[in-house]
Symmetry: C2
Subunit: 394 residues, 2 copies
């Protein structure tokens, strides 16, 4: 056994989060794609079966009240809140991330007022955010400009309405400076909208602490909610009365069953709801959040950094120098919970890795992505993945 | 046994659709709320369990391709298509009805061109359509005017961009004249957007035959897709190249995994997609659509009319004259698949009916709604519901 394999054994033995792995359904595959689709929490299948057979099959329409279906978006939002550093009453779950980006950005622009005519968007963002930002700009009569997060402070001005940024870059795994950028955006009188897809559940976000205005995120990556589980929307409490949704569906009405022909928004986070929530996907997510019971996000973050540090060391040890190049920052304060390695034949290499039981993913044109979910990935797996990667690169 | 009960027995014995009831999980409750939440199809629990345990739990990320997750929105759209009279390739499933109303209406207004400055909306519509129409008008710089469906032909003009109408009124159960109104809207050079929530799965819609431009609908009523199952969007084939979505998420990109920073819409119905689809809710719907195998919508419609006719006769026989008033049209060509009865104490009456195992619902302020899903409701149940209603009204 190599020295690194021995070291991995020791690290796993000392890992206080290691027992959490039993809360998931896993096998011999080294699953490093939890940053794309989280693994199945072990309690989800029975919960979903109950939702289908008893709540839908037996109680049917009564479940909207009796099984808590109606209030699920805000109830589950309150379960996510502590994971992203938000007090209760500021998050609702529902719709896709794209739809929530649209709500958040249009609402932010409206709050900023008519004199502020420009939206800035992260030029390195996951594409959907850019596409939706373009639509939001077009529909609200603003201009849109793409800049890198590093450029944001220098590009802000008294015309800036809102800035849409990714907390962690989906490609490189770079963690952006949420506190600093939010402060800079506020100093310019603009609103900060953060996309937490690649950070929530992997590291501390501190939405309330850092005064973020609006935020969105998906729940199927580090929150393990299942394929296409609903996204969420955070609206800071003091901004909620001014949250003017471009998607004012009946679920956000202050009296939804009054069936009034005129719209009157509900108070609070509820205002971010739109139509009837997708209950099966949503309640699977609710069950999935049980894995966080008693888990500290700070401990998750510490393990995540230890895992990615160790994986990078192993990659260097097992791969020919220069064969792959890490595009993930070395500095902890700039690193999310994934490692992205660049090599020209990344697409082919990832296929071979998957065939050998190491599942990461490929991002066009030349990036190998390895996501580290501290709840269920161990150091032994990091070592094994790096070793097999080294063999496949040779 | 009363004469009506005997007649019900004969009608049930002669009902060719009666065996379909075994495709659902039902009990002794007379479930007349399938127009709000359809009953559980018997094959759904095992299918959902397989999606959770095997597709998510074992295959994980591979299921996006291997289990057909990625193509589910258009594949399931093609399953719905024949139920609403549409050829394949024109429907995608995803998002809520409200979100789809937004996509359809903004896209319709854009197709109509800048000279057409007014949107007409059904004044009797389910509220969310009106709220969303107001937002669509505001964001596209159009005015919005609410008119009744009967008033539409007289209110159309060369400024009309689009008209949003309900096929069946959610409150009264009135069926509107889709062919005639669509023709009138087209004669004025405007686009017709139909909401099929209360008609799809209960009667023939004929989207292609009648030249409807765009349509939306939910899938959890007569299509039995489960609580909050995703809605769908129909864009007529020849309009698809001009469908300019206000929600251009990455799932509607022509090369979604190219991760291009600039948006280029996919051809065809795919253009109506937005973000990552909610797979659990979506695949439950796909399984639920199996109950339609070999079922003719014309036969469903014939039984629906026979059921509502019979129920109205029973209500008249069992209730004191004048105690309730039907607000559902007598004429078949004006009737959907529900019966709405008005009485001042409707809220209280419905509570007592539910306690006695007859489940309909109450719509503020004075309407008792009884939905008849011909796939699983029989004449004996219609008679029993009317009899118990008569007792509770006495």
């Amino acid at each position: 056994m190599s020295e690194l394999a021995l070291e991995a054994q020791k690290l796993d033995a000392a890992d206080e989060l290691a027992p959490l792995r039993s809360r998931f359904v896993l096998d011999d595959v080294v699953y490093l794609d939890g940053n794309s689709l989280g693994a199945l929490p072990a309690n989800v299948p029975d919960r979903v079966a109950d939702v289908v057979r008893r709540q839908w099959g037996e109680l049917r329409i009564r479940s909207w009240e009796e099984s808590g279906w109606w209030s699920a978006p805000e109830r589950i939002g309150d379960r996510i809140a502590p994971l992203v550093g938000a007090a209760a009453g500021q998050i609702v779950v529902g719709d896709s991330t794209s739809v929530n980006v649209f709500k958040a950005l249009v609402a932010a622009v409206r709050m900023a007022g008519e004199d502020r005519t420009e939206i800035l968007v992260d030029a390195t963002t996951f594409p959907t955010d850019g596409y939706i930002a373009e639509s939001a700009a077009r529909l609200t009569g603003r201009t849109l400009r793409a800049v890198t997060p590093a450029e944001v402070p220098g590009e802000l001005g008294d015309r800036t309405a809102a800035v849409l940024l990714n907390h962690v870059d989906y490609r490189t795994g770079r963690l952006h400076d949420l506190p600093g950028l939010t402060a800079a955006i506020h100093a310019a009188g603009a609103l900060a909208v953060w996309d937490l897809c690649h950070s929530a559940g992997a590291l501390e976000v501190g939405l309330d602490e850092h005064g973020v205005d609006l935020a969105v995120g998906c729940t199927y990556k580090y929150l393990n909610g299942g394929p296409g589980s609903p996204a969420y929307l955070y609206v800071r409490r003091d901004l909620q009365p001014r949250f003017d949704s471009p998607l004012p569906g009946w679920n956000s009405h202050t009296d939804p069953f009054g069936m009034s022909p005129s719209y009157a928004p509900a108070p609070g986070a509820l205002r971010g709801r739109v139509g009837t929530p997708d209950i099966l996907s949503m309640l699977a997510l609710e069950a999935a959040l049980d894995v966080w019971d008693g888990v500290s996000v700070a401990a998750v973050r510490a393990k995540s950094l230890a895992l990615t540090d160790f994986f990078l060391r192993c990659v260097r040890a097992y791969s020919e120098p220069g064969r792959v190049e890490s595009v993930t920052p070395e500095r902890h304060e700039e690193r999310g919970s994934q490692v992205a390695l660049r090599c020209d034949d990344a697409g082919e290499v990832m296929k071979r890795l998957i065939a050998r039981g190491v599942v990461g993913d490929f991002r066009h044109p030349d990036v190998l992505r390895f996501g580290f979910t501290p709840l269920y990935v161990g150091f032994g797996e990091a070592e094994r993945a790096a070793r097999i990667l080294g063999e496949e690169l040779a």
